[in-house]
């Protein structure tokens, strides 16, 4: 595990309050596992001390470039959104376990389900699964058309179904409303989003093999502070640490 100073190559708003930040530096060479995250410092000389855990959305190993998508919601991420090309960002990582791509049968199809700012890690994951020869289908859920992002890019990897809560794009409703006909093929499920969505996905996909990635407010990001725990009935300790045991868990492994 390492701390890196990466240089910003772009930082632009791609949907309402959603920013795409591209960073470059030699540290990107280790960022090969989808579903891991970077613990990003907003910067020195700010009263925002804590790092922000941001999922890796894409990595270009040749260009030594990593892409992060984040929502500028609080003061810290708003400050991050004002950073200019050429500025440096202090990151720890890659952190967390990430999605296990190796353990999956190649003949299987994969259904990747993301909600809101949970969508980004599915992009790198989708690319990796495609490289393995799997058929990849996405269900992406957003609040509305204005909040949607990266849809064309996902379409380049596989069939992409969009849901919006207000019906301004795609199917009106939640990601689970688009799952029914797709789970009959018994795909492997990969899902990222708020806990309430993951819970609904797990119920809908009961009996299928799959993985979820959790979000939580974090302190250290490396397993020391015990801020981001989640209860589980499958381990003797009774809990998992989302930052270091996760953020990816098997469906059913943790209590949502």
């Amino acid at each position: 595990m390492k701390k890196h100073l990466l240089s910003i190559t772009s930082n632009t708003e791609i949907a309402r309050n959603i920013f795409e930040m591209k960073l470059t530096g030699p540290g990107t060479a280790t960022m090969t596992v989808p579903g891991q995250f970077l613990h990003v410092s907003v910067g020195k000389h700010t009263s925002k001390l804590l790092r922000r855990p941001l999922s890796i959305c894409d990595v270009d190993l040749e260009k030594e470039e990593v892409t992060l998508l984040y929502r500028a919601q609080g003061e810290g991420t708003k400050q991050l959104s004002q950073k200019q090309t050429g500025e440096f960002v202090d990151v720890l990582g890659p952190l967390g376990n990430g999605f296990s791509v190796e353990s999956i049968d190649e003949g299987k199809s994969a259904l990747l389900i993301g909600g809101g700012i949970g969508v980004p890690p599915l992009y790198y994951l989708g690319k990796k699964l495609r490289e393995k020869g799997m058929k990849v289908t996405f269900i992406l859920g957003y609040q509305s058309l204005e909040d949607s992002f990266y849809i064309e890019k996902f379409q380049e990897i596989g069939e992409t179904i969009v849901t919006t809560v207000d019906g301004t794009l795609g199917i009106k409703g939640f990601v689970t409303d688009a799952m029914d006909q797709l789970i009959s093929e018994e795909p492997v499920i990969y899902s990222v989003g708020p806990a309430v969505m993951l819970k609904a996905v797990e119920q809908k996909a009961a009996g299928l093999n799959g993985f979820i990635s959790l979000e939580e407010r974090m302190g250290c990001g490396i397993g020391a502070c015990f801020a981001c725990v989640c209860p589980t009935e499958t381990r003797q300790s009774g809990y998992v640490k989302i930052c270091s045991d996760g953020p990816v868990f098997k469906m059913g492994e943790v209590v949502l």
């Binding site: 410092s41 302190g219 020391a224 015990f226 009774g238």
Partner: protein, 312 residues
């Protein structure tokens, strides 16, 4: 003797820096980032008699130049710590300060007996100041008679020196310090976190599931400096200073105020390498002011500047 070494009861440290309890887990997480033998010592996360799961999440909230936490003393219990956590620290050969907590006197006593008997533990830190559990010991830490009683009882069963960790959430911290000194404490750790709260102004909902939490980080450093400065003039016990320390300069300031060693807490979350970086920089700062041994820094402020003690 190296110029950075300091010696406190039970703690012979090659430098004055140790991570603060709760901010370093049981050490193994940070061992992935650097060689822990660089540290002056380690304070491990609080031990209770039985394992505790802690509070619901969210357990942390960021504040201006600080953070609130309400972890809730999550730990595997004293047996689990002795069997599974302490042995991993043995190879680093540095003093281990074991933080102990409890809900009752009996629990404190039993935890102290067990953990102080471990050959790997150099000293214990009596946590009577955790603000985040209903019965987390702060009831012992906000009244001087209860603090003194508990200190006496723990001291009578402990096989190692006892440091009492004081709460800043009291009207007169000097009174607390004097009470535990009279009760036989070997040293003080100060300060623990200040009780605080953060709300979502739109909904009125507290950010922390526990509603209130302990404030730490640079925001509380001036409070810590003031309290260490006051207490060190009234008691003769060595003080492990802590509260918002995040740089070598902060360490020098806190020792000037009266600390003999300095614990680094929240800063570990911001920069996992902060402790070794501080240690590396200390000699440079000593050179700058012409001080040879870092132990000479302790209480330097009052020696140099005969500032009248505040009337508190």
């Amino acid at each position: 003797m190296s110029r950075l070494s300091v010696s406190l009861p039970g703690l012979n440290m090659k430098n004055p820096i140790l991570p603060a309890s709760g901010c370093f887990g049981f050490g193994k997480e940070y061992a992935k980032w650097y060689d822990l033998s660089l540290l002056g010592g380690i304070t491990i996360k609080a031990a209770t008699l039985e394992g505790r799961f802690g509070n619901p999440t969210p357990r942390v909230a960021e504040t201006e130049s600080g953070m609130l936490n309400a972890i809730g003393l999550q730990n595997p219990g004293v047996k689990g710590i002795i069997e599974n956590e302490l042995p991993a620290l043995e190879p680093y050969n540095i003093p281990i300060l074991a933080n102990i907590a409890g809900s009752t006197e009996e629990e404190y006593i039993e935890v102290t007996k067990q953990i102080s008997a471990s050959p790997l533990v150099s000293a214990v830190e009596l946590n009577i100041s955790c603000p985040n559990v209903k019965e987390g010991g702060i009831q012992f830490g906000t009244h001087y008679r209860s603090a003194a009683d508990l200190t006496r009882k723990v001291k009578s069963v402990s096989e190692k020196p006892v440091y009492v960790k004081l709460s800043p959430n009291v009207s007169n911290i000097t009174e607390m310090a004097e009470a535990v000194e009279d009760a036989g404490a070997d040293g003080l750790s100060m300060i623990n976190t200040l009780v605080g709260m953060k709300l979502d102004w739109r909904t009125g909902s507290p950010i922390l599931a526990n509603k209130t939490g302990g404030l730490s980080g640079p925001a509380i450093k001036p409070v810590a400096i003031r309290m260490i400065y006051e207490v060190s003039q009234k008691v003769s016990l060595p003080i492990i200073g802590m509260g918002g320390v995040s740089s070598a300069e902060d360490v020098m300031e806190m020792m000037s105020a009266g600390a003999s060693a300095v614990a680094v807490g929240t800063a570990n979350f911001v920069n996992p390498y902060v402790c070794p970086e501080i240690i590396e920089k200390l000699p440079e700062l000593l050179d700058e002011i012409g001080v040879e041994q870092i132990s000479e820094m302790t209480g330097r402020s009052l020696r140099q500047w005969k500032t009248p003690l505040s009337s508190r």
